[in-house]
């Protein structure tokens, strides 16, 4: 997986190691004590809301910002003092990053020209890089004669032609329209598999993150909240922020009624719900959050007698439904005013419960998760 042509790099060390990294702008804290390790050859995504600090982290890795505290190791070597061009990293920007007066070939070859490579080598490398991104047909175009997607490919070619082994992508698809973004996502993934170098990709788009990532790190308010494989982040979020940001989770607030053994009973809007303790520290009376993905919630009409007492269901009143094509979202309101969503793949023309009709929302034992922070 790793790039074997780089003799300078320590193959056993991770590509990126961020240790206790903080970045302050005056009083504003952009990053607080971030620790993360990214393996060589990994496609790593920094996902989070705008202004959360993910771009700051990426740029600090790239050498565009100096850390306030902490250090960054690339292939096991501290790079705190090195400028961007002396690091094994290179950056792809959102947009507006091509030389408008140069052709595609000149744009891609400029870095090599600056580095003083002989002309014939530049031509060879540029041709190869353009072939990798599928732009061999457009070598003589100027950036303004290219589409947004093609412009981003030129940036990719300009980055990979440098033979550095960590590619940083700062919202590389944000300026593209939805369909093109989907296509480019897959292409990015395939490109990374082809060239085998480490990709670190910043985005606020969940679908984009899940398409490309080997692992995802969630970053919000300057904190690295949680990281893991896309599947784990989606199915088993540790933190309530992750649950609220990734997927479509129902977030329930409640108070611990009883914590015994491996499970906890939580009082939510008058119902007692049972949830796996997951080894977390909880005490009686503590305020906690519960999350359940909307597609795991089943919604049934209540016919008077089937009042829930199993700890895996809750009563509410029906609100409305939203038809989304593939899925339909049914909204119900709990007695305390919280809204819950049940999302189902169904296209039946069955009659829906009337507004304000009593409904029962239920789920399977493993689907509900406890969050204490």
């Amino acid at each position: 997986m790793t790039n074997g042509t780089q003799p300078m790099t320590d193959q056993t060390a991770p590509a990126v190691e961020v240790r206790n990294l903080s970045k302050h702008y005056g009083d504003f804290v952009a990053l607080k004590n971030v620790n993360v390790t990214i393996a060589a050859g990994e496609y790593f995504v920094l996902l989070g809301p705008s202004g959360g600090g993910k771009t700051t982290l990426l740029r600090t890795i790239g050498g565009f910002h100096k850390p306030t505290k902490g250090e960054i190791l690339l292939h096991g070597k501290s790079v705190g003092h090195l400028p961007p061009d002396k690091r094994p990293t290179t950056m792809v920007f959102q947009a507006y990053a091509l030389f408008p007066h140069m052709t595609v070939t000149q744009n891609v070859g400029y870095g090599l020209k600056v580095a003083g490579l002989p002309k014939d080598q530049i031509v060879e490398k540029v041709d190869y890089a353009l072939e990798q991104v599928g732009l061999s047909q457009f070598t003589h175009r100027k950036p303004h004669e290219l589409s947004g997607g093609q412009q981003q490919r030129v940036q990719l070619a300009r980055a990979i032609v440098l033979d550095r082994d960590i590619l940083l992508l700062d919202e590389p698809l944000a300026a593209l329209d939805a369909q093109l973004r989907k296509d480019m996502c897959l292409e990015l993934k395939h490109l990374q598999e082809k060239v085998g170098i480490t990709f670190i990709h910043v985005t606020h788009n969940q679908e984009e993150a899940m398409t490309v990532a080997d692992r995802i790190a969630l970053i919000a308010n300057g904190d690295l909240v949680e990281f893991g494989k896309a599947r784990d982040i989606y199915r088993a979020p540790e933190k309530s922020f992750t649950a609220s940001f990734v997927g479509e989770n129902n977030m329930l607030k409640g108070r611990v009624a009883e914590a015994n053994g491996s499970s906890v009973t939580v009082d939510v809007a008058g119902s007692k719900l049972t949830v796996d303790k997951r080894g977390l520290n909880v005490t009686d009376g503590q305020e906690v959050n519960l999350s359940i993905r909307s597609e795991c919630v089943a919604l049934d009409r209540v016919n008077g007698t089937n009042a829930p007492a199993d700890g895996l269901s809750i009563l509410g009143t029906y609100d409305e439904s939203v038809y989304l094509g593939l899925t339909t979202s049914h909204m119900a309101r709990l007695p305390d005013g919280t809204e819950m969503v049940s999302r189902v793949i169904s296209d039946t023309d069955d009659t829906l419960p009337e507004a304000n009709a009593p409904v029962r929302l239920s789920w399977k034992p493993g689907d509900i998760r406890l969050h204490v922070e």
Partner: protein, 303 residues
């Protein structure tokens, strides 16, 4: 359009009279700039050329055709003076560029976006003082026992006052640089708009040094704007009579002052000829510039 408005007018009986009136007037609003340019620009320019070949009379001129004024210009010290003023205007442009363009780049690169326009506005402040006063105020600074000379002598850098600072070409150039520097800052600032947002970071990433960055990236992108600013300074260096009038001396004149002097001598055809020659020179210059840099780019925002 016509159908729609006439039917609408028909629906409102009282308005039937007024609508066609306004309708007919509206296109003239778009023609107004053209009319203005023809009346106050093209016609006077044409008249300048026409008057330059008229016969001189005692106090005015009379219709006729003679190239005497042109002869008078080209075969006298006036031509040398004119060419000299072109030379010194070019020097002023160069100095303005060296000082002003880095300021523009600095403002674009290093000042937060929200504050950029305010900083540029600061360069307008000098224009709040009348130009005559501004230029005149240079005399006590540059003269024999002026501020510059006394300071340099007090510091022991020179033994005798530098007399070349005033009533010479040097004086005029100093005045021009101080008067016109803001224009290269403005045009440079606008020209930097053609430089994409992340380009400097890309340069950092590729390891492009400051000199290469300037020659390979900034200069080609900002060229149309820089040229426009330079032309503006050159034109003013050539045409504004005030500066050599106050700061210049024997031989240190420009085209504007030559024309003014001709008018003072009541030689109107000569004044017109000087103006026509200046116009021709500058038009040629603009044409060359346009061929080289496509000046329409200055006004085209980056897509």
């Amino acid at each position: 359009m016509a159908d729609l408005s006439s039917s609408a007018g028909g629906a409102v009986p009282a308005g039937t009279d007024k609508t066609p009136w306004r309708e007919r007037l509206a296109p003239w609003a778009f023609r107004a700039p053209l009319i203005f340019m023809v009346a106050f620009f093209a016609i006077p320019m044409a008249m300048t050329v026409v008057f330059s070949v008229f016969e001189r009379t005692m106090f005015w001129m009379e219709p006729g055709f003679t190239l005497f004024s042109y002869e008078n210009f080209f075969f006298s010290a006036r031509l040398t003076n004119f060419l000299n003023s072109m030379k010194y205007s070019l020097i002023s442009v160069a100095i303005c560029f060296v000082f002003g363009f880095p300021i523009a780049v600095f403002v674009r690169k290093s000042i937060p976006e929200v504050a950029q326009h305010r900083v540029v506005l600061l360069f307008i402040l000098p224009f709040m003082v009348s130009e005559i006063i501004r230029v005149f105020a240079l005399r006590p600074v540059l003269q024999r026992n002026g501020l510059v000379n006394t300071t340099l002598m007090d510091l022991g850098i020179i033994d005798e006052p530098i007399t070349a600072l005033l009533y010479t070409h040097t004086g005029v150039v100093i005045g021009e640089v101080l008067s016109f520097l803001p224009f290269i800052v403005f045009s440079g600032f606008l020209a930097m708009e053609a430089v994409p947002k992340y380009i400097f970071e890309v340069c950092d990433d590729l390891g492009v040094g400051p000199w290469r960055r300037f020659v390979d990236v900034i200069l080609p992108l900002a060229a149309p704007g820089i040229f426009a600013g330079s032309v503006f300074i050159f034109v003013n260096g050539l045409g504004v009579a005030l500066l050599p009038n106050i700061l210049g001396g024997a031989g240190a004149v420009n085209a504007g002052l030559i024309a003014t002097q001709a008018i003072t001598a009541l030689d109107f055809p000569l004044a017109m000829a000087v103006s026509a020659i200046m116009m021709a020179t500058l038009t040629t210059l603009l044409w060359i510039g346009h061929k080289l840099f496509d000046l329409t780019k200055i006004l085209t925002p980056l897509s």
